[in-house]
């Protein structure tokens, strides 16, 4: 197992290096001059020269790249050209909402996806099966932005005034400012990595509301999270339902399941404790792979629901030519994606010894 993990880690390293090269290259060949984009009419020759020296744009490209590698290795992602604050600081503010949204979506997708898949497979070709598969096919076909907009219209306009009306924009009701966990806990003077961790958690609305003991904020944050999370969850939910169904159907036809039935176990025991365990193996892979789709979908969902997360920050930074932010955010998101895929592979190998033996 250890050799397997080590080998997988080693394979990931060149990919991560490749990501750094690709992101650096893309941001350097982006059209437009960051100096002109930032300083506008004040972009005189002298001002631009000073600007370029400040951000290192005056150096040859290979030197810039080496300098960049050194910075990344020490956890320094540079300073946002637009906001004038370190990118890491911006990440601590913008990454948590996206992580929260993605986790909520993945949770919804996994919970309902597996249930739907099991429901369909145990009654093959029944109305329930056909209905589930129609839903699953529609679910992978409807664009996230269409679903998001229609949900927003349904819950914010059509159902307005009813108890199940939901807000369609932002993370809190207007005017709400959540407290920082560190401040509430009387640790306002704290610095260092623990403070960073506290601030990171603090920027996730639901953990924040729980840890600062604010039930009113919890309800408000949940209400704001439901629509975007459901919109984002639909595609992975449909995929998980399909995979669970086909995988469970495979397993239900195998000899050991017939043995379990012959022993006189109830159908519930056969499916729940015998078949499902093996059937869920491919589902684990799909859950890991959905994350890339979730991050892509997050760009759209965050735009529609006015969520200040990673996706929206990247697309705004591209428009504003804030290279440093684009670079830093894309690297962190992509490396995170590689690591999650690595975790998926490892958990898969852990669950199914055959995978370790093969490779």
């Amino acid at each position: 197992m250890t050799t397997y993990i080590l080998r997988r880690l080693l394979i990931s390293l060149p990919v991560i290096f490749g990501i750094l090269v690709a992101v650096f290259t893309i941001t350097r060949i982006l059209p437009g001059d960051p100096c002109r984009a930032m300083l506008g009419e004040k972009a005189t020759e002298a001002a631009c020269a000073a600007f370029n020296v400040r951000y290192g744009f005056d150096q040859p490209i290979p030197v810039q790249f080496l300098r960049y590698l050194g910075q990344v290795a020490t956890g320094d992602l540079g300073e946002s050209i637009r906001f004038g604050i370190p990118v890491t600081e911006l990440l601590i503010e913008r990454l948590p909402p996206t992580v929260e949204l993605a986790l909520a979506s993945l949770g919804i997708a996994t919970f309902f996806g597996i249930r739907l898949g099991v429901a369909a497979a145990t009654r093959r070709n029944s109305k329930r099966d056909v209905g589930t598969m129609i839903f699953a096919n529609l679910g992978v076909s409807i664009p996230v932005f269409v679903l998001g907009l229609l949900l927003a219209y349904l819950f914010a306009i059509v159902l307005k005034g009813t108890p199940i009306a939901l807000p369609s924009a932002g993370r809190y009701s207007p005017g709400t400012i959540p407290d920082e966990i560190a401040v509430v806990w009387g640790l306002g003077g704290l610095g260092g990595p623990i403070r960073v961790l506290l601030d990171f958690v603090s920027n996730m609305a639901i953990p924040n509301a729980i840890l600062t003991l604010r039930p009113d904020l919890l309800i408000d944050a949940l209400a704001h999270l439901i629509l975007p999370a459901v919109a984002l969850a639909t595609i992975p939910m449909a995929v998980i339902a399909r995979i669970t169904r086909s995988s469970l159907l495979d397993v239900l036809g195998s000899d050991y399941v017939r043995t379990a039935r012959a022993k006189g176990l109830t159908e519930r025991q056969v499916v729940g404790t015998h078949a499902l365990r093996n059937a869920l193996l491919p589902v684990v892979t799909v859950i890991g792979l959905s994350l890339g789709g979730l991050l892509s979908g997050a760009v759209l969902t965050e735009t529609i629901f006015n969520f200040a997360g990673v996706g929206r920050t990247i697309s705004e930074a591209i428009t504003a030519r804030d290279y440093v932010v684009v670079q830093g955010f894309t690297v962190v998101v992509s490396v995170g994606y590689v690591l999650v895929n690595l975790l998926t592979d490892i958990s898969y190998a852990y669950l199914d010894p055959r995978v370790r033996m093969d490779s």
Partner: protein
């Protein structure tokens, strides 16, 4: 003479292609997909005939009572004004006509984008699999890096470099899709490269290129066709998403994603401007997904019942 032709006809009826076709048409979902595709094709080809208005025709001043964002007006349901099946959009254009013309754009987008990805992907995959060695490692590692990015983010980054526009959005989505085909092709090449019929051609003096194009490529086509059909669905979704964000098709072109993106803020007063193009995208993507699934089941011998 008749006796001689009967056996050949029977043999023809059982060619793998016919068997696959029959197995494809036996599936209800595949037939549904094919039916939706047929409707789309008719809509795309006959858009000029079926649409009462031009896709970019602004009706203000041309038609009495044509209001911005007017709700659908269907004569059959008792509406007495000029008929607008899907209503009017924020620029007083007929949404039905725009959705019909959008079918033309989206079908072309899906097929061209995937075609671009397939050509480059199969080429890279064949080279990697056939040549092997350091070239294989280099190509496949680059593909790994491409796959390491969340697809839409990478596409957004590429569009920013080459500039927004429908063609550029297609190129970006095409580039992002290349690794899928490269991997499929490489796997096929690797499994075929050392087979006896390939060694036989080599022994007979066929050049490497001839072996690749005449022997290996035709045998690797099945997974590429299946992936490609499913890929068309994905490409239509992704290009629509880029257009929605303003990075793909530019107004006034009648493209479904940009129709929704352009009128997004009008949703709360006029949901039809989002609803109808949204249904159109969903059905189109659904059709290609169903056809792709059907092809996979029909062409994969392991799944034959």
């Amino acid at each position: 003479m008749t006796a001689a032709t009967v056996p050949t006809k029977r043999a023809a009826a059982q060619t793998p292609l016919r068997r696959a076709l029959r197995s494809f048409l036996e599936q209800r979902t595949a037939r549904v997909g094919l039916a939706i595709f047929a409707v789309l094709l008719v809509a795309a080809l006959g858009a000029d005939v079926f649409a009462s208005y031009g896709p970019t025709e602004v009706l203000i001043g041309k038609e009495q009572g044509a209001d911005r964002l007017a709700a659908p007006c269907i004569n059959l349901f008792g509406c007495t004004g000029p008929q607008h099946l899907f209503g009017l959009d924020g620029n007083v254009r007929d949404v039905f006509s725009r959705v019909l013309h959008g079918a033309r754009v989206s079908l072309q987008v899906g097929i061209l984008t995937v075609g671009f990805a397939i050509v480059l992907g199969t080429l890279l995959g064949s080279i990697a699999g056939f040549v092997g060695g350091w070239l294989d490692t280099l190509i496949m590692r680059v593909m790994d890096v491409l796959l390491a990015f969340p697809s839409l983010l990478l596409a957004i980054a590429i569009v920013t470099v080459i500039g927004p526009g429908l063609i550029n959005a297609q190129i970006a989505i095409g580039i992002v899709a290349i690794p899928i085909y490269a991997r499929v092709m490489r796997a096929s090449v690797l499994s075929l490269r050392d087979r006896e019929f390939v060694s036989a051609s080599r022994a007979l003096g066929a050049s490497e290129a001839a072996i690749l194009f005449r022997k290996v490529l035709p045998n690797a086509l099945t997974p590429i066709i299946v992936q490609g059909t499913l890929g068309i669905a994905g490409a239509i979704l992704d290009v629509a998403a880029l257009s929605f964000l303003g990075l793909g098709a530019q107004p006034p072109l009648a493209e479904w994603g940009s129709m929704i993106g352009g009128d997004r803020n009008l949703l709360f007063s006029a949901p039809h401007v989002v609803l109808f193009p949204g249904i159109a995208i969903t059905l189109t993507v659904l059709a290609f997904n169903l056809i792709g699934d059907g092809l996979r089941d029909a062409l994969d011998p392991r799944l034959q019942r």
